[in-house]
Amino acid sequence: MSFLIDNETRLIVQGITGREGAFHTEQMLIYGTQVVAGVTPGKGGAEVHGVPVYNTVMEAKVKHGANAAVLFVPPKFMYGAAYEAIISGIPLVITIAEGVPVHDMLRLHHLAREKGCRLIGPNSFGIISPGKAKAGFMAHRIFSEGSVGLMSRSATNAYETVFLMQQKGIGQSTCIGVGGDMIPGSPFVDMLPLFEADEQTEIIVMIGEIGGGEEELAAAYISEHVTKPVVALIAGKNAPKDTSMGHAGAIVSPDGEGSAENKEAVLRAAGVHIAEGTEHLVEIVEQLIKGK
């Protein structure tokens, strides 16, 4: 089993006629993903790698029964494209763009929830269920089918981790780029119940970083609801601190929230294994697998 996407997923690519959109459409098709249609306003009627292009998400959805969308559109236009996908009733929307305005994401984060849509990203590498399907731009060669469920704020750290797993013959169930921007569509805590429920997933890997409170929220959920072992890495211990401004931040967030120390402490208290780096992370995963 895998979740969110698999061989049955009927994916549309928004921004399919762009350079990145076209390239990754081909990559996704090669990987076996059912890319049923593309959407680029004004380019309806075209074809990209044999995939028909429409002006609107609704037409792609009605004509092809699409049930997921991946967006290869620049950050400026991401709001409009995601809004259209959500409003058109696509239940899974994956956004790749990096540097989407925070206020755009504030709106979309809530809109998606309210309309019953799972919004993944932005600044996400996408989702891959190795051996079944991928929706995103990840280099799929390093992924293989297995029992580790992975979610990461960073694409490069996820690659590094999967690459090291590959060298040790450890495969993945589903890998999700929750995205590195300030406001994710679906943070870690939204993904945890899916990994917990997924039969294929035996170990959950969470690659976080400093800033925000997503790891803290995840820790609270894990201690209450997650029975599977969780291994976490918090990147950015030695990154320069953002010089904060004004007093509102201190009023809204308690002391230390967002720091690597705090994140590691609350995760550890929730029973999560803390890794020092990617290499260490994969070592822990290996031991957990052997220990079974």
Binding site: E20, P75, K76, E98, G99, P101, V102, H103, D104, L106, R107, H109, H110, L111, F125, F137, M138, A139, S152, R153, S154, A155, T156, N157, A158, Y159, E160, F163, L164, G180, M182, I183, I207, E209, I210, G212, G213, E214, E216, L217, A235, G236, K237, N238, A239, P240, T243, M245, G246, H247, A248, G249, A250, I251, V252, S253, E276, G277, T278, E279
Partner: protein
Amino acid sequence: MKLLEYKAHEIYRRYDLPCMNGMVASSAEELKAMDGRIPYPMVLKSQVQTGGRGKAGGIQFAENRKELEEKADFLFNLKIKDLPVEKVFAAHKVELTREMYLSITLDRKVKQAVMIFSPEGGVDINQIAEENPDKLVTVYLPPNEPLQDFTLQYVMDASGLDEKYRADFKDIAGKLYRIFTEYNCLLAEINPLVVTDAGRLLALDGKIDIDDNALFKHEDVRLFRDEITGNPLVLEARSFDFLYIPIQEKGSIAVISNGSGMIMSSIDLISKQGMAVTCALDLGGGATSDRIKEALRIVAENPKVETIFLNIFGGITRCDEIANGIMGSLSHLQSIWLVVRLEGTNKEKGLAILESASDRVTLAAGLKDGVSILENRLGA
């Protein structure tokens, strides 16, 4: 993008939000020329990207021309936490009877904007928040809905704001909310929001932090950002859409990578081994050989940099492009040593190209290997 006070005031004025009607000077001469244009007594406020300017003497008052001239010379020779004062905001001094606090910021965890108001404010607001949290009214602003009258009514009722200030409060809070949303702010804070001797509310100071990702919507602020960016390498990198990040004064290592996650992991691992990174550069996605050349050139312009760790793990990035970029840069990087880790499409091609590189290029098999190589050469 944190705006200086005078720039925040510019935006306030654009929204007709009552604030100090001052002018900014970029030199002592400009400041002295305020004589006759702004009535005395005058307040002279240093504009620096740091806190604590008051305690450092960065805020001065002038009762007459003589004082103005003395204070002008004093301020433009002042350094606040190592930052030279390059701009001074001058205004007629406001006589105030009371200080309040009003801000709108973002709660990342809840993913909503939140308005915070306290009828007592000023420099002690954090202390008030800790000792008398009841004095602060905090209200979440529902997403995708306009600001509601009932929300402001709640803030006024719950804070017990005096009836006579309510019309002004509603006006100012409504405008601050418009600024917050229309300027894509992460923070819009008025502290202190003062009651003048005429009994009217007025923004005496302003802190506005604008989302960098939304600056394309605000040309005026984008230009202002470049203007106040002290570090020329940050500016230079920005013009190529790279992110240049100064890290530590003492280090000699630069990290270049194609993603902030990998940059953080690299710095973490290098630091853990007791070495120091002085700067990092994030290439973003899809680097071509030309862009690699520019990235190497910019980083090498930092005179502290002796070693560059180029750590690439690309989904899209083609390793032969990276390798060609390195080869084309070597002649310009005479005194610099490179540790290169390549992973991704066309990795073999890239490695083959680098085989003929000078002995100033060392190949690493992975992140950990790269750090080991650095350690062997630089470590204790």
